[in-house]
């Protein structure tokens, strides 16, 4: 398993990375490389140029800004996992991180890379959607932000164009009313999920409002279960589980049939709803 030849450039700045990526249509941005390099080794992807953004200033920051947590693209999973800022202000992400791969993978893998790679069975894209976060993108035409709900467009496809560099993600900072829930079923610890659910809500009286349920492993992208969200907001858990039949249409894969995945989605909804009701994690 040796990659096909490619050129390699260490970007000097985000602008430089954008310029390099724009110049070569088959360029790929190299961040943590934990998915990309595996596909290179297997020759499943053959970029002509790797633009290494590791070490760029300003991409590995973690900060609370204007009521949002901004996580730089190069923040490693392990770094986020150790961060007090994340633990306090983005507890959903803190809860999801131990499920991502294994220690050595989390030491290298980056938050930006997970979002940009957009594996449909990955944890972080679903967390971003559940939190109603946004993605900060630097591109040839300047900087822009894209809402999480709009960012994931298809299987391994996102709003990122060939000359775009993901700079950061932003998620609303948690407050006293924030409720989150996370659960996934995987064959073994650290595997990609067979089915997973990331959820966020706001406590309101005895109930929940602004519920966002983002499933992963059930479609081409993270999937919002909007009917179930509405039922859950009414406090109708059984109806919410039943509504998943409309919300989700998981395809069969080697491990599970779509029908079983839908059943498991219901199991996860019950577990996650309990977490949401139990209070802030």
């Amino acid at each position: 398993m040796k990659p096909a030849p490619f050129a390699y450039t260490k970007a000097r700045s985000v602008e430089h990375a954008v310029e390099l990526a724009g110049r070569d249509g088959e360029a790929r941005i190299l961040a943590g490389g934990q998915s990309l390099i595996a596909t290179l080794n297997m020759r499943l992807s053959r970029p002509t140029l790797l633009v290494d953004i590791n070490g760029l200033d300003g991409l590995d920051g973690l900060a609370l800004k204007d009521g949002a947590v901004e996580i730089g693209a190069l923040v490693r999973h392990a770094q986020a996992g150790r961060s007090d800022i994340i633990a306090k202000n983005a507890p959903l992400i803190a809860k999801a991180i131990p499920h991502i791969g294994h220690p050595a993978i989390r030491n290298r893998g980056t938050i930006g890379g997970s979002i940009a790679f957009a594996d449909p069975a990955a944890e972080l894209p679903a967390c971003l959607v559940a939190l109603g976060g946004e993605v900060v993108i630097a591109g040839g035409r300047g900087e822009r932000t894209v809402k999480a709900d709009d960012f994931f467009t298809g299987l391994f496809e996102t709003e990122l164009g060939s000359d775009d560099v993901l700079k950061a993600i932003r998620v609303p900072a948690a407050n006293a009313a924030t409720r989150i829930g996370f659960a996934e079923l995987a064959r073994r610890h650290g595997d990609y999920a067979l089915v997973g659910l990331a959820a966020a809500a706001r406590a309101e009286g005895d109930g929940l409002a602004d519920i966002r349920l983002a499933y992963f492993g059930v479609g081409a992208t993270p999937v919002r279960a909007r009917k179930a969200e509405a039922e859950l907001a009414r406090g109708a858990l059984d109806d919410a589980v039943a509504a998943l039949a409309d919300d989700l249409d998981p395809p069969d894969d080697v491990q599970e049939t779509g029908a079983v995945k839908r059943h498991l989605a219901g199991v996860l909804l019950r577990r996650v709803a309990k977490q949401l009701m139990e209070g802030r994690q």
């Binding site: 390099i37 595996a38 080794n41 297997m42 294994h102 030491n107």
Partner: protein
């Protein structure tokens, strides 16, 4: 060499400067350019963990790292674990005492993974150890000897901190 670069890095405390093809993985660089064949390749897609090394003190898959990415960095491999030529690290001793290895192929990755883990978790539970090595496949031991070795190494290291 097409697409090659000069790199300089430290491996097990020794500085190396080499010209490498940019597509060369760190694992192949260590094994075939530096002759440090203790780092093993079992899958080259980041799953088996046999190639795990410490990059600037943190565990990383050397099959998922380009050698050029390690320019200016510090790498530690299994060959660099023992404190001296005639002494072993407590973790190495525990592996021998608890039969934590059979064929030896996964061992370098187990050791490097556990060195980082025990540094951050000096008094782990059995379950924590099992999760910590869940990214390292061993086909021989059923993991029981490895888990026992890690737990015992933690005790030894607490009794006599390095």
């Amino acid at each position: 060499m097409p697409h090659s670069r000069n790199i300089a890095l430290t491996v097990n405390g020794e500085r190396y400067e080499r010209e490498v093809e940019v597509r060369l993985m760190l694992a192949d660089f260590l094994r075939h350019h530096l002759g440090l064949t203790g780092t093993h390749l079992g899958c080259e897609h980041g799953v088996c963990g046999a190639c795990t090394i410490l990059l600037d003190g943190r565990s990383a898959r050397s099959c998922l790292l380009l050698a050029v990415q390690c320019d200016g960095h510090d790498v530690m491999t299994v060959e660099g674990i023992a404190p001296s030529a005639d002494a072993l690290h407590p973790l190495q001793e525990a592996f021998r005492d608890h039969h934590g290895l059979q064929c030896g192929f996964c061992t370098p990755g187990m050791l490097t993974t556990l060195i980082e883990f025990l540094r951050e978790n000096p008094d782990p539970t059995e379950e924590e150890v099992r999760i910590a090595i869940s990214g390292n496949l061993c086909r021989c031991t059923g993991y029981q000897g490895i888990v026992a070795a890690a737990l015992d190494a933690a005790k030894r290291m607490q009794a006599a901190p390095a």
